[in-house]
C-alpha cells in the first residue's frame, strides 16, 4: 500500500485539532490513507473516531475552530493544505464532490431542483438549456422517474431515498475525480440502503470515479469497498484490503468491531458481544496505546508506549504492539466471554396484550378544505386491520420499511394516537373507549422507550428528575425518593454520578439507559421500544439489547420492539411481525421467520441486510422501488407491484392471512417454499 502518483488522494501524517474553551481536542493524529484511482476506500469506526473530521479536512470544510498542525493532503499530487480559498473552491464540486449523511436536509428547500443542478454547473460554458438537459439525463441515470417534469419540483416533494439519489446525481454531474460519501445511507431503511449502495457501485464503475466511503456499518463497507481504513479515537489503527480487514483483522479493535456486528452472531439466543468502555477524551493524549483502556489483549508495553504502524504485508498495516511481535503479561483478565443462553426465553405466560382488527386513521385535509375540494374521505389508514397477541414475558419484534405503520401501531397501543376502530385488550381490560380515570390506571402498566434518545428527554431536566417524572405525572407519592432513584439508575447500569447530568451531557447509549430507567419507573408490564438501537454504534447496540434482555428476565417484562434493523431485533425477539402499508403481512416465531420466511416481502427484508463479508456481496437487489403512498394503495395484494413472484391473480385479489405452520401466519397467495399452500389462479 505504498503511495504512488496514481493515487487520487494521498493523506500523509495528518493531524487536526479543534480549539475549544476547555483546551485543544486532538481530533486526528498522524492519519495516513490513500485512495487509488477508480477504487473505493472505506473508512470505518465508531462515532467520535474522526471519520467526519477527516472527510471535512480534505476540502477544508471544517468548522472555524479547526487547525492543522501537521501533515499533507495530496490531491492529484497537490497539497490542498497549502491552497488558498479560491484554489480550494476550484476543487470543490469540480474535482471532488460529496454526498452527505442526511438526504432530507442536503438540498436547499426553497430553490427548485433544476435551479440547484444548473447552478452547480456554473463552471461549464453551456447554455442554461444544455445544463438542464444534462441534469435531466443524470437524474434519469440515478433512477428518478419522469425526470423532465420532476426536475422542476422542490426537494420536499421527494422521499428520502429519492433525495439521496438526487444528491448522488448532483455529485456526479460535475464529473469529479473523487466522490466522497459520508454515511450516505444511515438515515435510510434497509431497502433504500441496498438500492443506494447498488447505485453507487454501478455509477462508480461507469464513471471511473474514485470513491471514499465512510460508514459505521461494516456490512456496507464489505459490500462496496476495495480497501478499508479502520479508525479509532482519531488514529488509523488498521488499514488493508477489504479481505484483509474482514477475513484476517489484526488489530484488537477491528476484531472486536467485527464480533459486535449482530449479523455475525450466528446464535440468535446469545448475549451480544460489546466493547466495554468509551472512546476516550481527546484533549489529553496518553503515552499509551489509545485503545489500551478498552483492549482485551493489552499487556504492559501497551501502557508505556504508543505503537507505530507496522506493515505486515503489501496491503495491510496495523498500529498495534502485537503486530511487531511484542508480547507480555496481559494487564487485565479477559472478561468472561458471553455465553449461550444469555438472552431471554423460558416459557411464555398467558396473553398480556391482544390487539384485534385495529385501525388507525389520519386526517389528510382539514374539515373545511375537504368540503371545499369535494374530498369525501380525507383520511388514510396508518394501521389497517392489525391483529396480534403478546404473552407475558415475551418479546414481539415489529419490522418493516419506513412508512409501514409500525410506529403508528405502537403509539396506538400506548394511547398516543387515537384508534379509529378495533380492540386493544391489555391485561384483561378493553382499552378502546375506556373512561380516562380507569384508562390511566391501566396506562401505568405500559411504558414507551422513544426513538430519539436525547431529543425525547426534556433538555431542562436532570437525569434524576427525568427518571422520577413518571411518579409526578401519575401523582404517586414515594416514601424515599432518593432510594427509588438509586434503584432505577442501578437497574439500567448507571451510577448515581449521572443524577445531575442534563440530556446533552449524555452519550447516545447513556441517554438510552435514562430512557429505559424512565420507562421502568412505574414497574410496567409492557414496554414498547421504538427503534431502541437506531443511531447507536454497533458496540453500544449490543449493550442496550443485552440490558433489555436482562431486565426482561429479572422483571418478567413483555416487549413490543419496533425496528427496521432485522439482525439486531432477532436477538431479543421471540416472535416477529412484518408490516407493510399498515398491515401485518407475516407473523411467526423468530427462527421460522429468519430461516423459512413465507412472504416475499419478509424474505426481501432479510436479504436486504448486507453481510460483513466481502465474499458474500449481493449481486441482485431483493426488491425494487419504494413503499407506495398510503393515499394510493395498490389493488389486490398491496405488495404485488414490487413483488418478484407476483402473478396476475395478485393484482386482483387481496390475500387473507392464514396459518402456514403452527403459530406462523402470512398473507400471501404464493407463500415461499410451501408448494402445497400455493393457490391456483
Amino acid at each position: 500500500m505504498t503511495p504512488t502518483m496514481t493515487d487520487v488522494l494521498d493523506i500523509r501524517k495528518l493531524s487536526v485539532e479543534y480549539a475549544t474553551a476547555r483546551g485543544a481536542v486532538h481530533a486526528l493524529r498522524d492519519v495516513s490513507l490513500c485512495v487509488p484511482r477508480k477504487k473505493t476506500v472505506g473508512i470505518v469506526g465508531e462515532s467520535g473516531c474522526g471519520k467526519s473530521t477527516l472527510i471535512a479536512s480534505i476540502l477544508h470544510l471544517m468548522s472555524r475552530n479547526a487547525r492543522v498542525p501537521a501533515g499533507q493532503i495530496l490531491f492529484n499530487g497537490i497539497d490542498t493544505l497549502t491552497l488558498g480559498e479560491d484554489a480550494l473552491r476550484d476543487l470543490r464540486g469540480n474535482k471532488v464532490s460529496m454526498v452527505f449523511q442526511d438526504p432530507m436536509t442536503a438540498q436547499n428547500p426553497v430553490i427548485p431542483i433544476a435551479r440547484q443542478m444548473v447552478d452547480i454547473q456554473y463552471r461549464e460554458r453551456l447554455s442554461t438549456e444544455e445544463k438542464r438537459k444534462r441534469a435531466v439525463a443524470m437524474l434519469r441515470r440515478v433512477g428518478i422517474p419522469d425526470p423532465e417534469s420532476r426536475i422542476d419540483g422542490y426537494p420536499h416533494e421527494f422521499s428520502g431515498g429519492m433525495r439521496q439519489r438526487i444528491s448522488i446525481a448532483m455529485a456526479l454531474l460535475v464529473r469529479p475525480d473523487l466522490l466522497i460519501a459520508d454515511e450516505p445511507t444511515t438515515a435510510l431503511d434497509v431497502n433504500m440502503e441496498a438500492q443506494i449502495i447498488f447505485l453507487l457501485r454501478e455509477l462508480q464503475q461507469e464513471f471511473g470515479t474514485s470513491l471514499l466511503f465512510a460508514s459505521h456499518n461494516l456490512g456496507l463497507i464489505a459490500e462496496l469497498c476495495d480497501d478499508v481504513v479502520v479508525m479509532y479515537a482519531g488514529e488509523v489503527v488498521e488499514r488493508g484490503s477489504v479481505r484483509d480487514i474482514f477475513h484476517e483483522p489484526q488489530h484488537p479493535y477491528t476484531q472486536r468491531l467485527l464480533e459486535c456486528d449482530p449479523a455475525l452472531v450466528k446464535d440468535g439466543r446469545r448475549t451480544l458481544p460489546t466493547i466495554p468502555g468509551r472512546v476516550p477524551d481527546l484533549r489529553v493524549i496518553p503515552e499509551a496505546c489509545i485503545f489500551e483502556a478498552r483492549c482485551h489483549k493489552a499487556f504492559s508495553v501497551c501502557r508505556e508506549r504508543h505503537p507505530a504502524p507496522v506493515e505486515i504485508s503489501d496491503t495491510q498495516s496495523v498500529r498495534c504492539h502485537l503486530a511487531s511481535g511484542l508480547t507480555g503479561a496481559p494487564v487485565r483478565r479477559a472478561e468472561p466471554r458471553p455465553q449461550g443462553g444469555g438472552l431471554r426465553r423460558k416459557h411464555a405466560g398467558e396473553p398480556l396484550l391482544a390487539v384485534e382488527n385495529l385501525r388507525v386513521r389520519y386526517r389528510t385535509e382539514g374539515f373545511l378544505k375537504a368540503l371545499a375540494s369535494g374530498n369525501r374521505d380525507p383520511f388514510l389508514d396508518g394501521v389497517k386491520q392489525v391483529s396480534l397477541m403478546l404473552r407475558r414475558g415475551e418479546t414481539l419484534g415489529l419490522v418493516g420499511e419506513s412508512g409501514s405503520g409500525k410506529t403508528s401501531l405502537g403509539r396506538a397501543i400506548i394511547g398516543l394516537t387515537p384508534c379509529h376502530s378495533g380492540s386493544i385488550r391489555f391485561d384483561g381490560t378493553e382499552l378502546v373507549g375506556l373512561p380516562d380515570a380507569e384508562y390511566n390506571l391501566q396506562r401505568r402498566k405500559m411504558a414507551m422507550m422513544f426513538q430519539d434518545p436525547i431529543a425525547s428527554l426534556s433538555p431542562r431536566r436532570t437525569a434524576r428528575s427525568l427518571v422520577m417524572e413518571p411518579f409526578e405525572i401519575h401523582g404517586i407519592k414515594l416514601e424515599d425518593e432518593d432510594a427509588e432513584a438509586e434503584r432505577l439508575f442501578a437497574m439500567v447500569g448507571l451510577s448515581t454520578a449521572f443524577f445531575n447530568r442534563y440530556p446533552h451531557e449524555l452519550s447516545g447509549g447513556q441517554a438510552r439507559r435514562v430512557g429505559a430507567a424512565r420507562a421502568l419507573a412505574l414497574s410496567p408490564e409492557l414496554i414498547i421500544a421504538d427503534e431502541p438501537t437506531a443511531g447507536l454504534d454497533t458496540s453500544v447496540q449490543g449493550e442496550i439489547l443485552n440490558l433489555m434482555g436482562e431486565l426482561q428476565r429479572e422483571h418478567g417484562l413483555s416487549y413490543l420492539v419496533i425496528s427496521h434493523n432485522l439482525p439486531a431485533i432477532r436477538h431479543i425477539s421471540d416472535r416477529i411481525g412484518v408490516m407493510y402499508l399498515g398491515r401485518l403481512v407475516e407473523e411467526g416465531p423468530v427462527a421460522e421467520i429468519f430461516e423459512n420466511p413465507a412472504h416475499p416481502y419478509t424474505r426481501a427484508l432479510i436479504e436486504g441486510t448486507p453481510h460483513p463479508d466481502p465474499d458474500r456481496r449481493r449481486t441482485l437487489l431483493s426488491i425494487e422501488g419504494e413503499v407506495p403512498s398510503l393515499k394510493d394503495r395498490p389493488r389486490g395484494c398491496e405488495f404485488h407491484p414490487r413483488c418478484p413472484i407476483a402473478e396476475p391473480m395478485c393484482s386482483r385479489e387481496a390475500p387473507q392471512a392464514r396459518d402456514i405452520a403452527p403459530a406462523h401466519a402470512a398473507a400471501c397467495h404464493f407463500p415461499l417454499n410451501r408448494e402445497h399452500l400455493k393457490q391456483r389462479a
Partner: protein, 314 residues
Amino acid sequence: MLFYAAKRIGLTAVIVTAIVFTLFCLIHLIPGDPAAVALGPYATPEMEARFIEKMQLDKPVHVRFLSFAWNALQGNLGEDIFSERPVSRIVAEALPYTIALAFASLGWAILIGIPLGCFSAAHPNSWIDRLTGVISIATITIPSFVVSIYSLLIFSVTLRWFPVIGAGEAGDLGDQLWHLVLPAFAVGLGWVGYLARMVRASMLEVLGETHIRSARAFGLPERVVVYRYALRVAILPTVTLLGMGFGSAFSGAVFAEIIFSRPGIGKLIYDMVVARNYPVVQGGVMTAAILFVTATLIADLVAAALDPRMRANL
C-alpha cells in the same frame, strides 16, 4: 394555496368584526353623558336633544351597533360632531400621509437593515458585525419620539437642513418628500436595528444548515451561497415580521406625526380624542385596525407563497 388564502381572508373578516365591536363598546359604554361632554357646559336643552337624536343616543346599544356596522359597510362612518363633514372623507384625507410615512420609513429600514444583517451573519464576530450589533441594540432601545425630537432639534432647528413641521404643500411632490425625510428617519431607525438583528439571527441559523454545507461543497461562490441560497430561506421569518411592522406603522406613528405635525391618522386620532369627537375617533381607529390586520394578512400570504414547503401543504 387558494384555499389557504380564502381561509385567511375569512379569518381576517372575523377579526375586523370583533375589533369594530370592541371599539364600539369601548366608546359607547364608558361612563358619562356623551352629549354633555361633547357640547360643553353651556349647551341648551335643545342642542342636547338634537345631539342625542342625531347620535341615536336614545336607542339601545345593539341597535346603535347594528346601524353603525351597516353604515360602515357602505363606507359611511358618520359625521364629525363639529364640522358635520363625513368622517370617511376626513379619514381618507389623513390616510395618504400615514401610508407614505409607513412605506418611506420601513422602506429605508429594509434597504439598510437586511443587507446589514446578511453581512453580519456572513462575517460573524468581525468588527463590522460587532459595530452593527451595538448600533442595532441602540436604535432598538431609543424610542422613536426621542429620535423625532432630537432630529427635529438638530437637523431642522439648528442646522436648518429640513423643514420643521407639516407635510408640505399639497400638490408639490418635491416639498412633500422633503417634509417626509425626518419623520421617516425617526420611525425607521428602530426598524433598521430590529431587521438587522432578526436577519442576522436567522441567517446564522440557516448558514449552519446542511444544505448550505452542500452548496459550499459544490464550490459555489460565497456571494451566491449567502445572498441567493441562504437568504432565500432566512428571509421567511422576516417577511412575517415586516407585516407587523407595516401594520403598526399604518395604525399610527402617533408620536412622529404629532411632533412633526403631519396630518396623518395618528395625529387625527390624537386630536379628536382630545376634542371628544367620537365619530372621528371611531372611524379613524377602525381604519387603522383594518390596515393593521390587512398588512399582516398580506405578509402571511407572501410568506406562504415564498416557501414552497408551505405552499404545498396549504
